[in-house]
Symmetry: C2
Subunit: 285 residues, 2 copies
């Protein structure tokens, strides 16, 4: 696996591989601190391209809190070893000054999709996400880009950006990878102390409670969200940021679960903010 | 000359011409209502590429006033004939719904450069410009794009966007083309009644007065802008929107003319808003 940290070198690699050799390139954008969820993205990318570029870039523009940015885990050596093992061909790990040089002032916003859910609690977050992903697309020129469904709203924002800006990139989504007890894998899980780690199970349990409510015949968002919220309320270490039932495409709040609805939640466990989601499908009666 | 009005057909043309044939493509984005200034952009584009695409798209997102959008001159047949005569290979003239289909919600902002001058008077204007130019770049995939220096701030915003987003496009600037009496060519000139047309000469005269002040040894922005403003004040039909001396790169106001400074102005003649600018250079004493 080749490691690249300069924009110009990354562009040159891509020109050569795509232009001269006619190969298909996939991009897996990450912020490092890799876990099995990230590696599943690399595996999916491999199946859809000849070469896989994984980027590791802790994007300052998408952090709404300085403390979160400061304590975001960084371990490039370990990340590189994991990516090589998963079959990545290039690790692109630029410095912040490569991506946001002095004077940089261009940003991309996706409007409605960035408003609800995490967008309502993390001002500027999705603007930072859309901007850095567009920059990475320009630099790497991927044919395919892979994102995880754990960051469901991020995936929706990026799909919308690709469509609206006529970008020539296929966006692929990879399912959430979970720990044995159901906790969605996240780089932030490593911030959890032992008791918090046990408590964090409540997110998956809340989604399961919402799903059980639907299976039991509940249709209203109020009842389904209440089932999830009640589950979270049983965990003393959990503080709910939001529990919402939304349209899986527009992310607009729904009052009833139709064919499909997305149950999404953000929960603080101590000083760590975790998110999770599940698409609920109404089965034919 | 080929006329294309669908995004997908434009993309297919570009893929073929660039990818298969390896030709260099230039884009000249316009809003139609073409004049000799636009045609000079096509001529410049021809010199830097094998194929020239001229787009004609009255971009709703860059109009801050509905009346301005409604009365913006449209004459696609005449535009097509002029572009063919000037040597364009493709006229790309999509409908607004092609570029902004229902649900489109992604926008590009260039922050500091869009604040002063026209940006202070036309809220959202440069956001609309940056967004549509990025979309056109995605669709046409030009190697080169040509813009006129009359819209100096627009040129600065686009250069910045290209740099910040690592777009693989060379931006070329073409000098302002003027009528015999100095009036900068503009599609909006055709709105001017005869007396207004005569009055509109005051913009170029004001720039010349500013330049004369520098030649006479004036150094302060206050004195140089006053020379221009005094000239405009002599024209009863003129209403000044702004007269400003700024750094040609950052567009930040300067208090003194250094090596180079940009004198820029926007003036209403009746219900028509006109802009013009000139780079002032201090000569060695």
């Amino acid at each position: 696996m080749r490691a690249i940290d300069q924009v110009s070198a990354m562009q040159a690699w891509s020109r050569e591989v795509r232009g001269r050799d006619g190969l298909k390139v996939a991009l897996v954008p990450t912020m490092g601190a890799l876990h099995a969820g990230h590696l599943s993205l690399v595996t999916l990318a491999r199946r859809h391209a000849d070469r896989v570029v994984a980027s590791v870039f802790v994007n300052p523009a998408q952090f709404d809190r300085a403390d979160d940015l400061a304590r975001y885990p960084r371990d490039l050596e370990r990340d590189g070893a994991l990516l090589a093992g998963a079959g990545a061909d290039v690790l692109f790990a630029p410095d912040a000054a490569e991506i946001y040089p002095p004077g940089a002032q261009t940003f991309v916003t996706v409007e409605e999709l960035a408003q609800p859910l995490c967008g309502a609690h993390r001002p500027g977050h999705f603007r930072g996400v859309a901007t850095v992903v567009l920059k990475l697309f320009s630099i790497v020129q991927p044919d395919v880009a892979v994102f995880g469904e754990k960051d469901y709203q991020q995936l929706a924002v990026i799909r919308r950006m690709v469509r609206d800006l006529f970008l020539d990139v296929d966006v692929l989504a990879a399912p959430i990878v979970r720990e044995a007890d159901g906790l969605a894998m996240s780089s932030r899980n490593r911030h959890l102390a032992a008791a918090e780690r046990a408590a964090a199970r409540c997110l998956a349990a809340a989604l399961a409670a919402g799903e059980a409510a639907v299976a039991a015949g509940e249709r209203t968002a109020a009842a389904i969200c209440a089932a999830a919220t009640d589950e979270l309320a049983r965990e003393p270490l959990a503080r709910v940021e939001y529990v919402a039932l939304v349209d899986p495409d527009t992310l607009a709040a729904v009052t009833e679960v139709g064919e499909r609805a997305l149950l999404a939640l953000a929960v603080w466990i101590g000083s760590t903010r975790l998110i999770d989601n599940r698409v609920l499908e109404r089965r034919a009666p």
